[in-house]
Amino acid sequence: MVIFSVYVVNKAGGLIYQYDNYVPRAEAEKTFSYPLDLVLKHHDEKVVVSFGQRDGIRVGHAVLSINGVDVMGKNTAEGKDILEYLKDATNYPVSIRFGRARLSSNEKLMLASMFHSLFAIGSQLSPEVGSSGIEMLETDVFKLHCFQTLTGIKFIVLADPRQSGIDALLRKIYEIYSDFALKNPFYSLEMPIRCELFDQNLKSSLEVAEKAGNFGAGS
């Protein structure tokens, strides 16, 4: 039972805090000889597999590192274009690690503001008056829980669908925010939260929630 990540969004829809608690499970490192039997392509500043699923390497996985050295976007660590590098037979045998690409912080910012707008749409679509915004978003792999305070701050938790006690966890995160972020006089409202104590306390409350599986009596 895992809590994957926590996002905090301010009144204007900007992401002010993000914490990832998960380790991506699907990563595969393999040694290849020339010619490469996977078809790779550029996508969004990354190199991803477009065809040739095998041995744990799926379509959509990105190249994470070559010969043990992490890549930088479309280029190797030395700055050479990855596709060019892999077309050259003299560079083989080469060991490439593939995995699901993590979201970059820019992508997270965009997704958070998109969620902020969707949240508002949730309440506008409502047939009844006075509906809240989106409180839960469910997929087969995770559930997204959202709690909006009366002041407009949103706390979003992505967790395993079977994880219970998320409502109580959201309230606990609100308390931690009101303590360690707001009571820090050097933290300005609506700005990104860079408070050590906030991080530490958030991590320990996530651990408690995961262990308990049932944080408090909430659902």
Binding site: Q148, L150, T151, A168, R171, Y174, L182, A217
Partner: protein, 180 residues
């Protein structure tokens, strides 16, 4: 609902005299720095405002109070829950205006002014003006614009301390989604 945080009944007791001394040191230093009562009142209000915008989140996180439906409910919550939680006193809510948009909070005793006497050369100083700023800041964060001022002050010779709160308008910009 989930169990309340074990900090609502705060086990960390602080000496209230230290609090009175701290506030007093703050006001006297402001008086020395600005040398003008009006200016000091303004600064106290500003400081109170900055406290209020942060305190409201703490208040909402610890109490399970939802959105108030009207100004009367707001007045009750302020007097019975908020003042009790933060200053340990429960002022009474009186003197409602006919339109229901203005009321008074009567404080029998004010923890900020224990042991304080105003000297004659500071008779326009509103010693507890921080409280006005706190109330204004906190309500602004829940989309209510209010005007808060002291109508009576025991430090200036009145029998009771009276804070007058007037509802100005609902703040429509940046409403959190789902609040119409």
């Amino acid at each position: 609902m989930s169990r309340q945080s074990n900090r609502t009944t705060d086990s960390k007791k602080m000496n209230s005299e230290l609090f009175t001394l701290t506030y007093g040191a703050l006001v006297t230093q402001l008086c020395k720095d600005y040398e003008n009562d009006e200016e000091v009142n303004k600064q106290l209000d500003k400081m109170g405002y900055n406290i209020g915008v942060r305190l409201i989140e703490d208040f909402l996180a610890r109490s399970t109070i939802g959105r108030c439906q009207d100004f009367r409910e707001t007045a009750d919550v302020i007097a019975k829950v908020a003042f009790k939680m933060y200053l340990g006193i429960t002022p009474s809510v009186t003197n409602w205006s006919p339109a229901g948009d203005e009321f008074s909070l009567i404080l029998e005793n004010n923890p900020l002014v224990d042991f304080v006497e105003l000297p004659d050369n500071h008779n326009t100083l509103i010693y507890s003006n921080l409280l006005c700023g706190v109330l204004r800041g906190a309500l602004e964060m829940v989309q209510m614009a209010v005007d808060v001022r002291f109508a009576q002050d025991t430090l200036r010779g009145d029998n009771v301390t009276e804070i007058r709160m007037k509802f100005i308008k609902r703040i429509e910009e940046n409403l959190p989604a789902g609040d119409e």
